[in-house]
Structures are given as C-alpha cells and as structure tokens.
C-alpha cells in the first residue's frame, strides 16, 4: 500500500508508538538462543539473526491454553457447566517476524477457520488482535528453502508491514490498513532506497540453493504416495521424538484434557504430535497408525499431500528449515519430499 523509510536512529520512537496500548514482542537473544520476548526498545530486539529456534506459533496457539472453566461441584446450579475463557484483553504486535512464519499462519488460518462449525475462536481472536511486522531475510540459512514452497525471504504474505534493512535505515512497506496506519508518520521512500531493497531481495533469493519439487506429488494419487517404498527407509532412522512438530510453524495438532483441583476445573488444550503412539489409539486398543512407519508417513503426507488436496494446493510447509536443523537423526525434509516427488 505504501513505502516509507524508518531510520535506525528513529527506531526507539517507532517502538514506543507501537507499545503505547499494545504488547510488543520481538526475537531476542536468550541463553545463546533466539527466542521471542516482550521488548520496549530497539536495542532489546534482534535485527540481525537467522530465525527464532521455535516458531512464534505459540502467540496464536499456545503450547498450553485454557479453553474453558467450570465449577467442579455436581448439584450446584452453576456446577459442571463450561464457561469460555475471556478473549485476549490487549492487542499485540510481533516485530521482526520472518516472512516464512507469517506465511505459515496464513496457511493455519485456512485450517483453524473454515466455516461456522470449524471456527476456532481461540486462534481467531489472537490472530485478529495481532499486528505482524516482518523483517525481510537478507541472509537466509543453508537450511532455508522457502522459495520452493511458495514463500520468499522477502515475502509479504500474511504481514501487515515488511521491513527491509538497507544499511542505515529500513524500508517499510505496508499491506493492510493496520500496517498503513503504523507507517503514517514516517517519511516517504526514495527510488534509490526501493532499488536497494529490490537488489537485496534478489540477492537473498539467490542464496537459497536447496529446495523441494512437488509437481509429481501433486499429480500422484494419495494411495500412490502412501504405498511408495520410501517410507520403509525414512522410518528407520526416525525416533518419533516429535522435535520437528514442536519447532514447526505449521504443525497444529493438539490434545484436549480436563484438569481439576478442588472446586476449580478447567479444560485445556496442549500441543500434541502425530509421532506419538497414543495420538490415534482407540479406547479398544486398536491403533490405526500403530507403527512408526505409519506415523512418519503421516507427517510428510499431511503437509505435502493432504493439506494441498484440501486447501486448494496450499502446501503445509513454508521452508523455514527448523526441522532440518533440529532433527536429532538428521532427517531432512527436503530429501524426503524430493524422494516423494521422484
């Protein structure tokens, strides 16, 4: 919508504006790792980093989230009746989110909000109250492959604003009314600034040298991929540890559990993972995904076949490369997908 300039010596003033009546979060360095934390000044936030170790999905889909509460007394007029938790009381801004993560949340929007019944108000409330200010990747990692799964180091999908670091200043581009309002006071960009941002984008894209191809996956039937011999090999090294699912920005499986303490009761949802044997086990003991192979296959098939089939070709992966970095047995999603596509 508009292109503005944010000088680096004006960052603190900009951030002050952001946190006036909102909670502001950004990637920070903590114990040698990049994680998300509340910030109020530019110095607290990171401006040069690859990406946070875990995705910021926790802001919309917390690892543990109370959904509803009840009075744990049978016979009380209000007893045992579930009451929804209140909505988020303050809007939020996520600053310096990477374009891949922003894109991931747009994919998740299609899953959490589909129609009147599949309308996850917990997800939706936090999404609607959060502004995303992205920071373009000028220096992608060797594990990044976003350009081959529909994202981009300078991608704008799902963002309100994208910042591009061009040296002593940032080019700020807005894509929504919310983003536009934030940039209102900033000076206009020059043609030279825009040219520089464009060159940085091309350079960043050129640095992404690995990737996946999905053309044959798209053309194949579910059963052809399901019965492909590669799963026997992929499953051998997998430990079913679930690390890939926890760091993944699009993994969204969850469990719902009840908790009580005296008269207080609540229903919470927790991240769950398809690598778990219990995940699909029936009360009878029958387990439709009872083997490790079934579970390993499920994760890749879900992201690269099932989601595309159901969501108009959208892939359930944004190429952030976290699972490649963190897998303890070096399973590389790029290799698995390229084998699926063979």
């Amino acid at each position: 919508m508009s292109h503005k300039i944010l000088a680096k010596d004006k960052l603190d003033a900009f951030l002050q504006g952001l946190c006036r009546d909102q909670d502001l979060f950004a990637p920070v360095m903590k114990d040698g790792k990049v994680g998300w934390a509340p910030v109020t000044t530019a110095a607290e936030a990171l401006w040069e980093f690859s990406n946070s170790e875990l995705s910021p999905k926790d802001f919309f889909f917390p690892q543990t989230e109370c959904m509803m509460r009840f009075k744990n007394v049978q016979g009380d007029p209000q007893g045992m009746i579930m009451q929804a938790e209140p909505a988020l009381n303050k809007p939020r801004v996520l600053l310096n989110i990477r374009p891949c993560d922003a894109k991931a949340f747009q994919v998740l929007d299609m899953i959490f909000v589909q129609d009147e019944m599949t309308n996850d108000l917990y997800w939706r409330d936090k999404r609607e109250k959060t502004t995303l200010i992205g920071l373009a990747c000028n220096d992608p990692c060797p594990t990044c492959f976003c350009t081959t799964v529909g994202s981009n180091p300078h991608g704008t999908t799902g963002l309100d604003v994208l910042l591009t670091d061009i040296g002593d200043k940032l080019v700020a581009e807005s894509f929504t009314a919310k983003g536009e309002a934030l940039l209102k006071e900033l000076p206009e960009v020059t043609r030279q600034d825009l040219f520089q941002a464009g060159e940085l984008k091309k350079a960043a894209e050129a640095k992404i040298t690995s990737g996946v191809a999905v053309d044959k996956i798209n053309a194949a039937t579910v059963m052809e991929l399901y019965d492909a011999p590669l799963w026997d090999r992929v499953m051998e090294s997998c430990l079913n540890c679930g690390t890939c699912t926890f760091c993944c920005p699009t993994c969204h499986c969850f469990d719902i559990q009840d908790e009580t303490q005296g008269e207080a009761g609540r229903r919470v949802r927790n991240w769950d993972y398809c690598m778990s044997w219990l995940f699909t086990m029936h009360g009878t003991g029958h387990n439709p995904r009872g083997t490790k192979k079934d579970r390993v296959r499920q994760r890749f098939m879900h992201k690269f076949k099932y989601i595309p089939v159901k969501r108009g070709g959208e892939i359930g992966c944004v190429g952030c490369g976290r699972c490649v970095q963190l897998c303890p047995v070096n399973i590389d999603v790029r290799k698995v997908v390229n084998d699926m596509n063979a």
């Binding site: 009840f70 599949t118 996850d120 039937t221 009840d258 769950d272 398809c274 699909t280 029936h282 009360g283």
Partner: protein, 279 residues
Amino acid sequence: MRNTYIPYPVSIKEVRVETEDKQLKSFWLQFLKNEDAQAFNYKPGQFAELSISGYGEIPIGIASSPTEGRDLLFTVNKVGSVSSRLHNMKAGDIMGVRGPLGNCYPLKEAQGKNIVIVAGGFAVTTLRSTMNWLLHPDHRGDYGEITFIYGARTPGMLLYTEEWTAWQQSGQAKVCVTVDREAPGWSGLVGFVPTVTGDVAPKPDNAIALICGPPIMIKFTQPVFDKLGWQSDQIIMSLENRMKCGIGICGRCNVGPEYVCKDGPVFTKTQLTSLPQEY
C-alpha cells in the same frame, strides 16, 4: 459467533442398562436451555462429543432421531475414563453435549430408493436413529422397501429390542435380527450377520446399503454384497477414529486427507477404496 468448543449443558434424564454384560448403557439427555435444543439440528448418522467436566469428551453417534423430539439418546460402551465415569452417573446429573458433528447418512439423496441396513453389535446406534427417521409417517412414503438386518452375539447383547420388535410388527420394514448361536428362549434367526445377509439377499436395484459393525463383520459382509451385484457407491459405511476437537483441526482422526470427524464419519465404499486403511 459461537464458540464450538463449548458444550451445551444438558442433564441426564434417564439411564438404562442395555446389555446383559452391563457394558452398554443408554442415556437420554435433556438440554438445560431451550435455545440450545433448537440450535442442535441434527440428522441420522451424525455424532456429538459427550462432555463430562473434569474427565473430558468422547465422540458418540447420536442414537435418537430428530423425529423423536428434543431429547438426545446415546448408547455408550464402557471403555475409557470418560465412558466409565458416564456409566457411574445418574439421572439429574449435569454434563455437556457438543455438536452435532460430522456428515450424515445420504437419506435425502436416497429418496425413492430401497434401503438396506446392516448392523452388528453396538454399531447399531446411528442406525436406530435412521430407522426411526425412515419409519416416521413424514418420511416413510419417500422410500421403497426397508430391510433391517441386525446381529449380536447373544439375545442379551441386542440393543433396542422393544423398538425393533415394534418395527417388525408394524410391517413397515423387513426386520431380520440374528444372534451368533442358539440360545434358550430365542426363537429368532441364528447365524452371523454376513450369512443372514446372504440368505436375505437384498437386491441392488435402486437401493443403497448402510453397513455398520465391527471390522470383522464388515470384512465378511462386503463379499456378500459384491456377489449380489452391489456397486461400491451404493454401499455406505460409518467410520470411527480417536477424536478430540471433532471439527477437523486437531489432526488425529484423518484417513488420508479426509477427517472422519468433519468429512465423515459417513463414507461410501468408493471413497474408502481411494484412501489408506487408517481406521
């Protein structure tokens, strides 16, 4: 905007022990609020999450038919912590119902056709709903012959005996109820469901079949239908898988790209042949 995770509060109106092993109990549930009862618009074949605060939720097929009024009937096997807790609850206790969830049997599409229903064990629940719906004076005229084949291990394991006896006596449907072995006091059919189905030999012309039962029954019933000339798209089945959200998000009940909770639980045999057997 309705939060579809919050159950409607209901009270247990009546509890009935259904089977001689006491593992199956039926619960009639009454909505506490009239507007909730009105919002709960369901069709035969759909299910709901039964919610017991402090224990959790279980997905259970709705055994009542909307033609029977506002109260809901569920017949529950005692298996895990939620169903065990439910078995210990009594009339007047407060619990919750979330739904209706999933798709329904294609009864609208089947107008003008003959309907064959094959049920084994306690999978008969949503087919009880279907039978009550089909036999209702408002709907009976829209369908041709109705055949109801139902089997259980013993006479004491048969559900809804009063009702299928009434259907039999009404002459509105051909009712064939069987038990696995001869039993004292049982004068009805004896034999496994696939055998009885073979004897009844339902014709595939202008018909659909709804088949629900344990995997072993389905495995041996399918060849019977194949031999009688039935096509895969005439055979309708209902799946069950472990569920949590019930609305197609939480990721565990999927069979390939299809979520049993949202895209199912009702699928045609044609659909199932193009999907992994993860159920």
